[in-house]
Amino acid sequence: MSEVTSNLVSPQLDAPVVGRRLWRRVLGNPVGFVTVLLLVLIVAFGVLAPWLAPNDPNLARLELTNAGPFSTDFWLGGDNTGRDILSRLMFATRGTLVAILVVLVVSSLLGGTAGLIAGYFGGRLDDAADWISNVLLALPGIVLLIVLYTVIGPNILLAMAVYGVLISPSYFRLVRSLVQSIRHELYIDAAKVAGLSDRRIVARHVLRAVRGPIIVHSAFVLASAIAVQAALEFLGLGDPTDPSWGRMLQDAFNNIFVNRVAVVWPVLLIGATTLSLVMLGNVIRDALQASASRPTALSPAVVRRLRAEQVSEAEPRSEAGQSDRLPLLRVCDLAIGYPDSTTTVKPVVHGVDLVVERGEIHGLVGESGSGKSQVALSILGILPPEAVILRGAIEFHGEDLLADPRRMREVRGRRIAYVPQEPLSNLDPTFTVGQQLTYGLRAVKDVSRREARQQLLELLDRVGIRNPARVFDLYPHQVSGGMAQRVLIAGALAGDPELIIADEPTTALDVTVQADVLELLRNLQQERELGMVIVTHNFGVVADLCDRVSVMQSGRIVESRSARDLFASPEHEYTRMLLNSSLDGAELRTPLAVGSGA
């Protein structure tokens, strides 16, 4: 039963694809088609046994004892007492079908209902149900079933019903965790506010979402039920008069030195059935999740081909010869794409040019999906693994980092640093603040542990943390968002960088904290003459901090000028539209006339 329970560790919850579309998708998959076909054949093989079986399963013809396959009246040969293996297999299949159906019905009804109720209503009921499920889960299932033989005797259906109870916690946990996560969805709250009763909410919203995962899980439960039934029969705990897969396996196994081939048939049948069920379960699971299709990295060959096909959108570089001093950072004609199939990409950044001088704060503004964060992350070489840089160059002091991944690694953390958006999710929850800062510092500087601690405490003090020694030993979940962001800034400064890439560094913070962090960034920048790229959607932040601004729209920079000019006289239509959306100067609403509403 291990595969049943271990599948519970991470229940997936995506927008469900349901009904006919799902089945079309499953049958469209070659593995899905083959397994469904096999399972249909096996079911037919069992259900039709009384009509199709060539012989009585218990008829013994002594002359055919241990007969080989295909040579006699018994197509698959005879067993150790001269019975027809094929006919016995057919009747055994029938028995297995009934047995696993018992398991399925008992476990899904019991566990599913309990999970639904416990998950939706929570509270004491939930605690109690959860405890019972934990007790059941801690029971070694097969051992208990064997033990129960002393009480119930060779009654396989009753044993399977007990097994159904024993694995009902797997349904319980699955359904409960699904329901719990749905219960916190706002659409459930909206339905409550709209006045829907609990029964209606469960029927409309909850059942819909748990249906898919239950089907998937049932495939695994059926497979495990087959294994358990076969195991019990194999141990001789079933009814000896009924043919069963496990019993046939036992007979054949005990007789293996006399008739090897007889072992093959039950092994094949049990193996094929459980394999088909589990594979089918996996195919259905993939089909359910296909709506949220996971991007997978393209093969290197495809990436090479895509890069070769690129056509530059950049204008010829005119200013290159003019200045003899190299800028701190120059991004040239950078294009980035994400796979949308196994051979093609969807470009999200189309040929971006960007220059950052020493000691300059450069704002990269745009709305969601404009590609601004992609540009920022590519400067550090920390794009997600599936992202493809299609073309372009990222020159740091005139040296192209894209051309040399080793150089990129050397520069990262030492000369270019990163300040992320979400403070708390950017600290590893399993290490103290001090530990992870120390690892970072010692990765880029050759200092002893003690020196590292000293330097970091000074830095933490510098970024405005009041009691650095205490914060050093705290775990991330023990610090506030504002403090975590200061820790991350300290982490970025640890390697004494010349350039900082800050991706929406204040978006997740409260306004009052944001003001302090902006102040800190400005002071640090002046102190250390840092170059900075600030990615943001907030023109207030840009106005506060930036010397130059580049406005991005759908993967392109549409306007790039000094901050003062841009705000005073925006040239591009899109920039004007964005600036006009700002609510700073918005008209106040006329106060309501006294009593007008009454």
């Binding site: 706002l186 339905a191 709305e367 003001a515 506060d544």
Partner: protein
């Protein structure tokens, strides 16, 4: 502070919060309950938008949820349409559903991704046993400026701004008197935010619905509200007309909040920065006057 001190709340208010408290029991033996909101008094009239502004942990979302019956009111009264709705059972409350609706912050989680827009929009009607006709759906879609054929598509096919329009349409199905708007624009892009705010105002002018508009963004609340309440650590520290609260804030916290928000203009922002520094120094000199609690 008396609610009527803020100005326009004379006449019979549509909604009246009287000394509302929300607290949750905490786990553990004898540990005291966690009080999220305390002593909240606030009136909202018909046609009126009252903005509720506060930072994370101030309890602003909890206040909205308490109004809607999604968080427990452990003290005080919530008088809506002349009766106390804080003590009603779930079943009794369902009748107030017609008049009290909601638009949530997250347009992704607030619409069931697997349902069609038509199903989503007619859900409130279903609860009342009424049949949801295509006509109603079409009228609503029109009201929030979405194409007529949107009804048969799934929620997940729409962008954030469009989803928020759908959520607004759902709130309007039953012609409510009050809509609680819980950060309805903070997950949206700036340009989308501006358009959605305009939509909110437009709907208010045609239907006379009242809003409790909850947000962390002072600029947003200034643009949409008639009156503004400032929430700090579960208490209202300032309540007044939008012009007064954003033009001449009285409470030190409101002053800080106002000065903290950067302006989208480098010159004005430089001045504001200096002003903020001055304010912080002033407040630091006289800490006794600027305790962060209600006066």
């Amino acid at each position: 502070m008396n609610a009527s001190a803020g100005g326009s709340a004379s006449g019979t208010p549509l909604l009246s919060l009287q000394d509302v408290q929300v607290s949750y029991p905490t786990r553990g033996f004898r540990s005291p309950p966690l009080t999220v909101l305390d002593g909240i008094s606030l009136d909202i009239c018909e046609h009126e938008t009252v903005g509720l502004v506060g930072e994370s942990g101030s309890g602003k979302t909890t206040l909205g949820r308490a109004l809607l019956g999604l968080a427990p009111v452990t003290g005080g009264r919530v008088v809506f349409g002349g009766r106390d709705i804080s003590t009603l059972s779930r079943a009794e409350r369902r009748r107030t559903a017609k008049d009290l609706q909601v638009v949530f912050q997250d347009p992704y989680s607030s619409l069931n991704p697997a349902m069609t827009i038509e199903d989503i929009l007619t859900e409130p009607l279903l609860a009342r046993g009424e049949k949801g006709g295509r006509d109603i759906v079409r009228r609503l879609l029109d009201q929030v400026h979405l194409p007529q054929d949107a009804g048969r598509r799934l929620a997940r096919e729409f962008s954030g701004g469009q989803r928020q329009r759908i959520a607004i349409a759902r709130a309007l199905v039953l012609d409510p008197k009050l809509v609680v708007c819980d950060e309805p624009t903070s997950a949206l892009d700036m340009s989308t935010q501006a358009r959605i705010l305009t939509l909110f105002k437009e709907i208010q002018e045609t239907t006379g619905v009242a809003y409790l508009f909850i947000t962390h963004d002072l600029a947003v609340v200034r643009a949409i509200s008639h009156r503004i309440a400032v929430l700090l650590q579960g208490k209202i520290v300032e309540l007044g007309s939008a012009a007064q609260v954003t033009g001449d804030p009285q409470h030190p916290y409101t002053q800080r909040l106002l000065m903290a928000a950067p302006v989208a203009d480098p010159v004005a922002q430089r001045e504001r920065r200096v002003e903020r520094q001055r304010l912080l120094e002033r407040q630091a000199e006289r800490p006794s006057e600027v305790v962060d609690t209600p006066r």
